[in-house]
Amino acid sequence: MTKKTLRRQEIYDWIAERTIQNGKVLDIGCGDGELLAQLVQERQVHGTGIEIDEDCVVRAVQRGLSVHHGNVEEGLDHYADKSFDLVIMSLTIQEIKDPLHVLQETARVGKKAIVVFPNFAHWRSRWQLALAGRAPVSGTLPHKWYNSPNLHFCSVLDWEEFCRENDWKCLDRGFLAAGHPIRWLPNLRAEVAMYFMEKQ
C-alpha cells in the first residue's frame, strides 16, 4: 500500500494549458472550485461548477464561482446545447452512476472535453490484485472496498476503446505517475490518465 497522496497540481496545469482563453468552462464535480479558480485566474474563463457536497459548494461560491449544488445528471440537463467551450471531469467519472449518459450529455453541452481518471491497470494495482489478492488501494484509489466512492474502474486501454467505439476523437493525452509525466507503457505505469477530446 502506498502512502503517496495524489498530486493535483500537475493535473490542473495540464488542463489549464489546454483551456481556451476567455472560454466558458464547466467543471463536473468541481469540489471546492480549486481548479476552476486557477482557470479563472490564468485563462480568464467564465467558470461554472457542478458539485454535490454542501460544504464544497459554499467554498466554491466563496471563490467567486457559479455553482450548481446537485448531482451531475440534473446539473447537465440545465444547460443548452454547446453552452461550453470546455467541459472538465477531473477524477469524477469513476464516481458517477451512469458515465455513458454523462459523457453523452457532456458532448451535448460542450464543444470539447477533458476527462481525467485513475488508471486501474497501474502496475501497483495489478500487483495488489494479482499477487496479494487484495482490492487495490493507492494514492489515486485511496479507499477501502467498503467506503470507496468509486463505482467504475477503467484502464487506459478501456478508455481508448470507449473513445473509438463512441466517436470521441482524442486531441491530446497525458499520463502521470507521482506527478511526473509518463511517456511509454501508460497502461502499466500511469496512475492518472488525462484526455483532451472532441466528439465527432
Binding site: 467564465h46 461554472t48 454542501e54 459548494v57 459554499v58 461560491v61 466563496q62 471563490r63 467567486g64 464561482l65 457559479s66 455553482v67 450548481h68 449544488h69 446537485g70 440534473e74 440537463d77 440545465h78 444547460y79 443548452a80 453552452s83
Partner: protein, 387 residues
C-alpha cells in the same frame, strides 16, 4: 449614545419613510389605472457617488418595510436584521439597502385598509386586484424617486423572492443580480390550495362582512385560523417533532376535552391570535391572490424564454431541504431556465429541518454565501451590449 447602541445593536433605531407616488395613477395588470400610491420604505447605508451599490430587499407575505434595525421601544429588530447591518451579509457599510412595503400591503403602502380619496373611507373590496408585477412596478417608481437607476441586487425570500425574480424579468437592465430564496417562479396548485384555505377562513367569518369591517372587530377568528394554516406550511414534519413533539402544555395527562393541550396547538393559536393584531385581513386576501396569479412564464413560450433578457444578471438561488411549501425543485427549475436562457445561476440547497421558515432562521448558512456572491457581482464587469 452607547446606551442606544447597547439597547439597539446593529443599525440602531431606524425610521420608516413615506412618499406619495403615481399621482396620476399607474396602469395595473388588470388594465385599471390606480393612484395615487403611498409607499412606506426604509433605507440603510448610503448610496455611493456612482450610484452602483443599491440593494432592494423584498419582504415576504406578512412582512413590511421595517427589514432591519429597531423601532423605538421594540423588543425585536426588523424581520431580516440578522442579514442587514454593518458587517452583516448585506453590509450597510458598503451597500445602500432599500426595503418597501408592497402595493396591497398593510404596513404603510396603499392597500385595502387605506383611505380611498374618492370616498374618504377605507377601500375594502373597492381596492383593485393587484399582481406581483404591479408591486414591482410601484417599487420601480420608488427607485426613480430615490434616484436609483440600477440595483446591485434585488433579493427576498418566499413572496419576496417572487418579486425579486419578477424584477429581473420586468426590468433586466436595472438588475445586476438576483438573490431569490425559498421561492418559486409560479404558484403550484398546492400553493394555490393553501392560499384558498387562507382566504376561505377569512371570508367565512361573519366579521369579514364583504371586506367592509373597518372601524369594527373584523374577521379576527378567520384571520387567526388563516394564519395557523400558514404556520403549518412554514414548518416541517421533523421540525415540529423537534420543536413540540407530543408534549402537553400545563398538563401532565390528557384532559380528554377540546381545550388546547398539545404544545403545537398552543403555538399555532398564539401565532394566529398575535397575527390578528398586526395584519389586515383584506390585505391577506389581496396578497395571496397576487401570489396565486404569479407565473413568470405567462406571456412567454416557457420559463426559459422569460429569462432570455436576463443574460447579464447573475442569479443566486437558495432552497431548503425541508421546505415543502416552496420545494427545492421549483428553485432548480428556475436555475435551469436561467441557464438554458444563457444566463448565470448559482443554485444552493441548504440542509435544514426548519422547513420554509429556514429562510429567516438559517441565516448563518446564507450569510457567507450572500456575502461572497455580492462581492462577485460588485467586481464582475457587465458585458454591455453596443447601443
Amino acid at each position: 449614545m452607547n446606551e442606544i447602541s447597547d439597547r439597539y445593536p446593529g443599525l440602531g433605531l431606524t425610521q420608516t419613510q413615506h412618499v406619495r407616488l403615481c399621482p396620476e395613477g399607474m396602469p395595473l395588470d388588470t388594465q385599471v389605472t390606480f393612484g395615487p400610491i403611498d409607499v412606506a420604505y426604509e433605507t440603510y447605508g448610503r448610496l455611493n457617488d456612482n450610484k452602483d451599490n443599491a440593494i432592494l430587499v423584498c419582504h415576504a407575505l406578512s412582512g413590511g418595510a421595517h427589514a432591519a434595525g429597531w423601532m423605538e421601544g421594540a423588543s425585536q429588530p426588523g424581520w431580516w436584521d440578522n442579514m442587514i447591518g454593518p458587517g452583516k451579509a448585506f453590509d450597510t457599510d458598503k451597500y445602500f439597502v432599500i426595503c418597501a412595503n408592497v402595493l396591497g400591503g398593510c404596513y404603510g403602502t396603499t392597500g385595502p385598509a387605506s383611505i380611498d380619496p374618492e370616498t374618504g373611507k377605507p377601500y375594502g373590496l373597492r381596492f383593485p386586484v393587484v399582481t406581483v408585477s404591479d408591486m414591482v412596478n410601484v417599487q420601480a417608481r420608488l427607485l426613480d424617486h430615490l434616484g436609483v437607476e440600477e440595483l446591485l441586487t434585488v433579493t427576498g425570500g418566499s413572496m419576496g423572492g417572487m418579486l425579486a425574480l419578477q424584477w429581473a424579468v420586468s426590468y433586466p437592465k436595472r438588475v445586476r443580480s438576483v438573490i431569490a430564496i425559498a421561492t418559486t417562479y409560479r404558484h403550484s396548485p398546492q400553493q394555490i390550495a393553501f392560499n384558498e384555505l387562507t382566504r376561505q377562513s377569512i371570508m367565512a367569518d361573519p366579521g369579514w362582512n364583504n371586506g367592509d369591517y373597518y372601524g369594527g372587530e373584523g374577521p379576527r377568528l378567520g384571520l387567526a385560523v388563516a394564519r395557523m394554516t400558514g404556520h403549518i406550511t412554514y414548518l416541517s414534519d421533523k421540525g415540529m417533532e423537534l420543536k413540540f413533539g407530543r408534549r402537553l402544555r400545563a398538563r401532565e395527562k390528557y384532559g380528554f376535552d377540546f381545550s388546547k393541550e398539545f404544545e403545537v396547538e398552543t403555538y399555532l393559536q398564539h401565532q394566529g391570535k398575535s397575527f390578528v393584531n398586526r395584519f389586515d385581513a383584506n390585505s391577506m386576501l389581496y396578497l395571496t391572490k397576487a401570489l396565486d396569479y404569479f407565473d413568470l412564464s405567462d406571456n412567454h413560450q416557457d420559463l426559459t424564454e422569460a429569462f432570455k433578457g436576463c443574460q447579464d444578471s447573475l442569479f443566486l438561488l437558495v432552497a431548503f431541504s425541508s421546505d415543502w411549501l416552496y420545494p427545492a425543485q421549483q428553485l432548480k427549475d428556475i436555475a435551469r431556465a436561467v441557464r438554458r436562457a444563457g444566463g448565470d445561476a448559482t443554485y444552493y440547497e441548504i440542509n435544514s429541518d426548519y422547513g420554509h421558515d429556514a429562510f429567516l432562521l438559517d441565516y448563518e448558512k446564507q450569510a457567507p454565501l450572500v456575502q461572497s456572491f455580492l462581492h462577485r457581482v460588485a467586481t464582475t464587469e457587465i458585458p454591455r451590449q453596443p447601443g
